[in-house]
Amino acid sequence: MAVCFLIPGPLLAFSGGRAAVSLDGSPQTVAEALDALGAVHPGLRERILTERGDVRPHVNVFVAETNIRDVAGLATRVPDGSEIAILPAVSGG
């Protein structure tokens, strides 16, 4: 197992109902991992990233316990075996 994405409830409709999606392969960065995720579940990638390829403003992506916005964004390195959590930001109205 290379990486495992943790999927929030509102996106389960696009992961076949799976709260955790494990991907084989060796993605080096979050961007590569999201591309691999999108190849299996395109609806997930579309809702995490805009069509410009940016992480949506109110979505947080954590590699282990690190928010990728605090480090290198989509270029953040993904160690083998990482858990990548997709979390809706604390925002709304």
Binding site: P42, R47, E51, R56, V59, A89
Partner: protein, 402 residues
């Protein structure tokens, strides 16, 4: 111990017959569908669909035998998309890859879908939608695929358009039913643009519409047009509610005439036009841009029946005290029945309706999330189930036997 999380609300579909009245009510927290017999006295409601998402756009498409409801849920977290149901909300289609996406070369990303508009009856597979940032998308295969209208996107004015309070949104699409190439759109804040060649080229059509927030109040473009309505049988007749200013055009938008005669304020957002009478239009004036509430705490719909020469308040059944309400640009609809029904929703979640062209009003629902769009339609192409009718016939026979 943490509290148990509540389940997301589940919604039953709406049960309708051919000829029934339909209301599509988009709110900041989901879409609601309402249905009534043609007399529009009692309404049943289904929803919320897409709970938690705002729904600024909705449309009913009955062309080519369809009974399709389109909606544009927009999640603050996961983005905006087009979805549809062919069974009045029992099931919704949400494509994995959103249908409306800016092409990579545009450098833009979709923020919201403000308007969904079926095309002409003669082009039953054509649909349009207006989005933020300021673009028109079109489909010519019944919504299966969509493309950016490059003529408007490439307009030399575009780089000078400025976002209004709701963002840089293309919120109004008027498809001329009698001239095949003519489409009119309105953008806040860019103004009115019209194409006479099917969307290849676009020209600003704001002559006579003021922009009081510019040093030159009569620019070619840059007006903050809030809503434009068009009469279907007389498509040259348009009414326009501006960010300050009420206007009428009799030449398809080539020129505009100020018609703010006898209204408490010419600031407002929503607008409706009578389905038969091109001289009759409806508005809800608001105090001002700095205080976007109904003046004097009175919720009044104003109606003109003489093309704007004068306006009169319609108040019967509407609160005339302590009613500081806001009705935004797409939150009013006029149906096609005779007499016409007028419907509007408020930011405070109240839905009002009149089934007598505005003479009297009823509060149809309150306690809804803030209402951002109201669309009226007539149910068509509803399949009547023979099985559903059987028990009634048997009961009748049984009664006769008794």
């Amino acid at each position: 111990m943490p509290a148990r999380k509540l389940e997301t609300p589940a919604s039953a579909p709406l049960s309708l017959r051919n000829g029934d009245a339909i209301l599509l009510v988009g709110t900041m927290k989901g879409l609601f569908l309402l249905g009534s017999r043609p007399n529009r006295r009692r309404w049943s409601m289904a929803g919320p669909f897409f709970p938690g998402s705002s729904v600024y756009g909705a449309a009913f498409d009955a062309r080519a035998g369809r009974k399709r409801i389109w909606a544009s849920p927009s999640s603050m977290h996961w983005g905006a998309e087009l979805a549809w149901t062919d069974d009045f909300g029992k099931t919704w289609e949400r494509p994995e890859t959103p249908l409306v996406r800016f092409p990579e070369a545009s450098g833009a990303a979709l923020k919201n879908i403000w308007q969904i508009m079926p095309g002409r009856a003669s082009e039953p597979d054509t649909l349009y939608c207006g989005v933020e940032p300021s673009a028109l998308f079109e489909s010519h295969d019944a919504g299966a695929t969509w493309r950016l209208n490059q003529g408007l996107w490439g307009h030399p004015h575009r780089e000078k358009w400025q976002p209004g309070g709701g963002g840089l949104c293309l919120h109004t699409i008027l498809v001329d039913p009698s001239r095949s190439g003519r489409i009119t759109v309105a953008i806040s804040t860019a103004g009115v643009y019209r194409s006479d060649d099917g969307g290849k080229t676009w020209q600003a059509r704001n002559r006579g519409v003021r922009a009081e927030y510019f040093p030159d109040p009569n620019p070619e473009f840059g007006q903050c047009v809030h809503k434009v309505v068009q009469h279907r049988a007389k498509p040259g007749r348009l009414f326009l509610q501006n960010h300050w200013g009420l206007y009428r055009s009799d030449d398809g938008g080539d020129s505009w005439k100020d018609i703010a005669n006898g209204v408490p304020s010419d600031f407002g957002f929503c607008m409706g036009i009578h389905p038969q009478d091109p001289d009759t239009a409806y508005i809800v004036p608001l105090h001002s841009d700095m205080f976007r509430c109904t003046p004097d705490g009175k919720l009044r719909v104003y109606r003109t029946q003489n093309a704007g020469a004068s306006w009169k308040p319609l108040t019967r059944g509407l609160p005339q005290k302590d009613a500081l309400e806001t009705v935004i640009r797409d939150a009013m609809a006029v149906d096609a029945f005779d007499p016409a029904g007028i419907f509007f929703g408020t930011r405070s979640g109240k839905l009002y309706g009149s089934r007598d062209e505005g003479r009297s009003w009823q509060l149809l629902h309150e306690g809804l999330p803030p209402i951002v769009c109201v669309k009226a339609a007539t149910a068509e192409n509803v399949r009547v189930h023979a099985r559903a009718a059987r028990p009634r016939r048997r009961a009748t026979k049984a009664r006769r036997a008794a």
